[in-house]
Subunit: 209 residues, 2 copies
């Protein structure tokens, strides 16, 4: 695990000195597939780095409708939690482990110092901000410019990409929640995708062809 963390950080261009400090002040956190990691309304004091696994970041409205914003994959971090903490604001997300996952949690109070002292860390944080921002934009694009059929197909392809697997193990109901639509609609469109030879359907499993 320590090795994994080290290689992720060096890859991001962070110098040994800082890597060691991150190892020293942070701590690991594991989550099993399906586990809720952050609930809306909570205030976290740590910035997580995903060492292994996959997290989904979901937005909720007051009626508990949901929409998937983006995934956090191995090696990625969510600098957004920074501001959420700096300004003492509540968290507006729901973060779930989509797979068995391992995170490295860094206490927020080191952030400002590191951003000041390490150009590489500055780059790392800004780059994370930017990546999340771009992903939000892509989400907006999908919702705004695509119809449900295309959105669903894109969703499946994105999930394939994120899990590096051609098989998706989810129920139609779960997919419907990520897209803020109903199970019936998802079943209908999945069947259409199957008829067009793009996927194969089984119980709790979708194979992408």
């Amino acid at each position: 695990m320590q090795e994994n963390l080290r290689s992720i950080l060096s890859e991001a261009g962070i110098e040994d000195e800082l890597v060691q400090e991150i190892q020293k002040v942070g701590f690991p956190k594991t989550a099993r597939s399906g586990e809720l990691i952050i609930t809306p309304g909570s205030t976290s004091m740590h910035m997580p780095i995903v060492l292994e696994g996959l997290l989904s970041v979901v937005r909720q409205d007051e009626k508990a409708n949901e929409i998937l914003l983006y995934y956090l994959e191995g090696g990625e971090t969510c600098a957004m939690s920074l501001a959420c903490c700096i300004e003492g604001k509540r968290n507006d997300f729901k973060v779930t482990a989509e797979d068995n996952s391992v995170l490295w949690m860094i206490p927020m109070n080191y952030m400002d110092e590191w951003i000041q002292n390490y150009r590489s860390f500055r780059k790392y944080v800004f780059s994370s901000y930017q990546t999340r921002f771009d992903e939000l934009l892509e989400t907006i694009d999908s919702i705004t410019f695509l119809n449900l059929y295309d959105r669903l197909y894109k969703y499946l392809l994105d999930k394939k990409q994120a899990t590096k697997s051609y098989e998706i193990h989810m129920s139609h109901e779960q997919i419907a929640q990520h897209l803020n639509t109903s199970r019936v609609v998802v079943s209908r469109l999945l069947k259409q995708l199957e008829n067009e030879g793009k996927i194969e359907l089984e119980r709790n499993r979708i194979s992408i062809l």
Copy 2:
């Protein structure tokens, strides 16, 4: 104008020394209402601060469909353009002056130095990032969880807020573009809002009651 800039920056907690430097290396740029300031595909080398007026930031797809992402009001900046520049990426936005506006343009190459040396500037930039991010989330909320009727009404109220005026001077066609729908639909819903006593309609003008 210099006075305006100074008061905006001090208000943001930036010390005199840096304010003076920003005044020295930046330059003003004016735009008349309706003028296109940034087109998709361009790469800007400056971070703009809005001194006066109002800018709209719009996302476009390849078929020139559009959706309003957020406004930039007087005193605000768009730190996003930072990363757009750092990573040499193309701009994916269309920025338009919604009013006669004045901007202060800061060359990007000073950013990293200032972020390193001035805690206040660091805060300013991060806070800008966060504000934009929150606005994107609100946009996603609207698109995802509201029907068009509510979205339209919220749009009018937001515009009122941004312009500090109860009168909106736009055609139905322009509103339709910001919401990525058609003029006919907007006219239909506006008429409904009027019948319900929430607004008053005239040619090129909507009054919010």
